[in-house]
Every structure is written in C-alpha cells, then in structure tokens.
Subunit: 215 residues, 2 copies
C-alpha cells in the first residue's frame, strides 16, 4: 500500500512523482536483468550443461557484467533452481495420474516409458548434471523430485502378479526401467525411445516371471 504524501507545492509533487517513477523503472529493470540472466543460464544449462557453464558465459549471453550475475545468484544451486522452474513449465514431465487409468500393468509401464523417455531425450544435457548422484551441489533438486518419482514407481508396480514377498524386487525393476540412467544406456546403444521402452518392458517381465512361484 502507498504511504500518503503531504504535497506542499506543485514542484514537490513533481519531485515525489519522479522519484516514484524512477524507483518503478529501477525495479522493472532489475526484474528484467534477473529474467535475462535466468534465460541465458537456462539456455546454457540445456545446451552445455550446468557443469560446463561458467558465470562469465552467462554474463556474456545476458549482456551484463559478471558481478551482476553473482549479485542475483550467489551460487550455482540458486541459479540452477531458478532455471529449472521455467524449464519444467516449458516441458513438463509426464503425469503419473494418467497412467493409473491403464489396467494392464505391462501396457501401463509401456505407456509410461514411451512418455518419459522422450522427456529424458529432450532434457538430456540438463538431467545428466542434475541426476548425477556424485554431484552434491544439486542434491536439493534431486531431493525435491523424489516424491514424484516414488509416486510414479508405485503407480507402475501395481497389478503385476507377484507374491507380496517379491514386491521390493519388482519395485527395483520398475525403478530401473523408469530411471534416466537406464534410458541413457539404451539411447547410447542406438535405440529409439519406443524400442527402448519395449526392451525394458520385456526386461521387467523377466523379473516378474522370476518372482512367480515355480509350477
């Protein structure tokens, strides 16, 4: 809310108005600078990867000085966090809720993998840094994504005919099929995303079969 101002003269009013206008302009410019930095960093994170992006690269692309970047984002985590949100809005990961509607567990897994693998492909460079557990810097980002991932695993582990005792092993097989790194392995073997998904469904079927009582 604006504070009331006692205006003694037309001249004083103009001074106050000008100051307010200048403050507004400065705030806008500041928001604009921040936006330019985030856009530049997001672009470099997606193409070069956060590990290979320097503050100087970001400053150059955003058209600001290095200290300006550091004033807005004192560390790489805060910068990565700021980049992540617009990235996720632009290319959101698929929603596990839709998979619940597929009754057959193999068909459900197949659908989930054919949705998530292209997402991994589009975001490979960024995810290679963020998903790397040897990189402590981004641990908070991985931590934040864990409930969503665990939810997806649970949804995909339902309805397979395995005994209760085999459930942990089934969850591991599902977790592997759903993981970014499993996709990287398959993509680097030259598989297209639908081929990779089909192979993984077969692999999970192998684990499920191993869990069924011998007849």
């Amino acid at each position: 809310m604006r504070r009331p101002v006692n205006i003694a003269s037309r001249h004083e009013l103009e001074i106050v108005m000008t100051r307010r206008y200048r403050m507004k302009l400065r705030a806008e410019r500041k928001a604009d600078t921040r936006g330019r930095i985030v856009a530049a960093a997001a672009h470099l994170h997606r193409t070069l990867g956060p590990d290979r992006t320097t503050i100087s690269d970001i400053a150059r692309l955003a058209g600001v000085e290095r200290p300006t970047v550091l004033r807005h984002f004192p560390d790489r985590l805060s910068l990565a966090m700021a980049c992540l949100l617009p990235g996720l809005e632009q290319d959101p990961p698929p929603d596990p809720a839709a998979w619940k509607l597929v009754a057959d567990p193999a068909a459900r897994l197949s659908r989930a993998l054919t949705e998530i693998y292209p997402h991994y492909r589009r975001n490979r460079v960024l995810l290679s840094s963020i998903a790397d557990e040897t990189n402590d810097e981004f641990a908070p980002i991985r931590q934040a994504g864990r409930p969503r991932r665990d939810d997806a695993h649970r949804v995909l582990a339902e309805g397979w005919s395995v005994p209760e005792s085999g459930h942990p092993r089934l969850l591991l097989a599902i977790g592997h099929a759903f993981s970014f790194w499993a996709w990287v392995s398959l993509a680097d073997l030259g598989l297209a995303d639908d081929e990779a998904a089909a192979l993984m469904v077969d692999m999970v079927r192998g684990v499920v079969r191993g869990l069924q009582p011998r007849r």
Copy 2:
C-alpha cells in the same frame, strides 16, 4: 648416441660435463614435473571428475604454475589420456577372455557383471565424465574403448537359446546389462553390486524368453 667431443683442456672438459649434467638434470626434472602433473590430475579426475577439475587445481596440487601445466598438456583430452593409462594399470577392467570358459550363458553373464560392476563403482566419478556421450571432448577415449566393449558383448551373447533373428535384440539386452549407465541406475536405487548383477541377469532372461518361439 653421444657425439664425440674434442677436449682441449681440463677446464673445457669440466664445462662440457657440467652442461651435460645440467641437461640430464633438466630432463629428469621435466619428466618429474610431468609425472607430478599427471599424478595430481589423475587424483582430481578420480575424486572430483574431469569436468569439475580446473587447470589451477591441478597446478596447485602438483606444486607448479598454471602455464607449466598448459605447456605439458595443451588441452583436457591430452591430460585425460595421460591420466587414463596409469589409472587402468592400477585398476584394470576385468578380462572377457576368462568369461569364455563359463559354458552356461546366464552364469557367464552373472560372473561378468559381478566383476565389472565393482570396477564401475571404484571408477564412478571418472567414468561419469568419460562415458558421457554428450561430452565430445572425450569421444576419442570412448572410441578407443569400443573394440574391447564389443568383444565383451559378443562373448556374453553366446550360447543363449534364441533364434538367429533374435540375436540383435539379445545383444542390446546384454549391452544394456554391461553398460556403466545401467549400473549407475541400479547403484542409485541402493543395490549392492551382486544384487544389481542378479537383477540384470533376470532382466536379460526376460528378453531371451520373449525371443523364444511360443509353445
């Protein structure tokens, strides 16, 4: 071979000897400097990873100046190559030749995975950079390792009862089970190496079963 030297006086002899001694010392010091740089870089590559290791870090640890590092190793690839060899001598990857002696293909795969997964674990940080296909800088190193990897795949794909037409798909399943990234996925799910190997053997069995003619 040494060039014959005409010595005119004891004094001249001393000058020549001193010069030779100085040259030898300089050569030794140069080799020593190079060795210290390689040792420092190898240590940092294994603990921080090549992507996060700077030339300044290496110089500091080796006790030399930054330009000295750059004089010995003008780019990161030449440095990584120099570090790789002592690393491989110190911790060589397991030899596919020994696996050929195991007749049963599932037992053979199990043995190979329980040997290669701990190797991946010990070298995780280094391999995370080198195996990353989005990193063009290390493409020559990956290229150099490919024949050995393809040989391992071939050895492990023998003897499974799949029709000829199913062989390419079997090779993909084997390639996946054997890959560094598949191991990363399983390790990050909390699996010990022998558990990961057992799960992967089951997964490959699933693919093999999918390739067998329906009865």
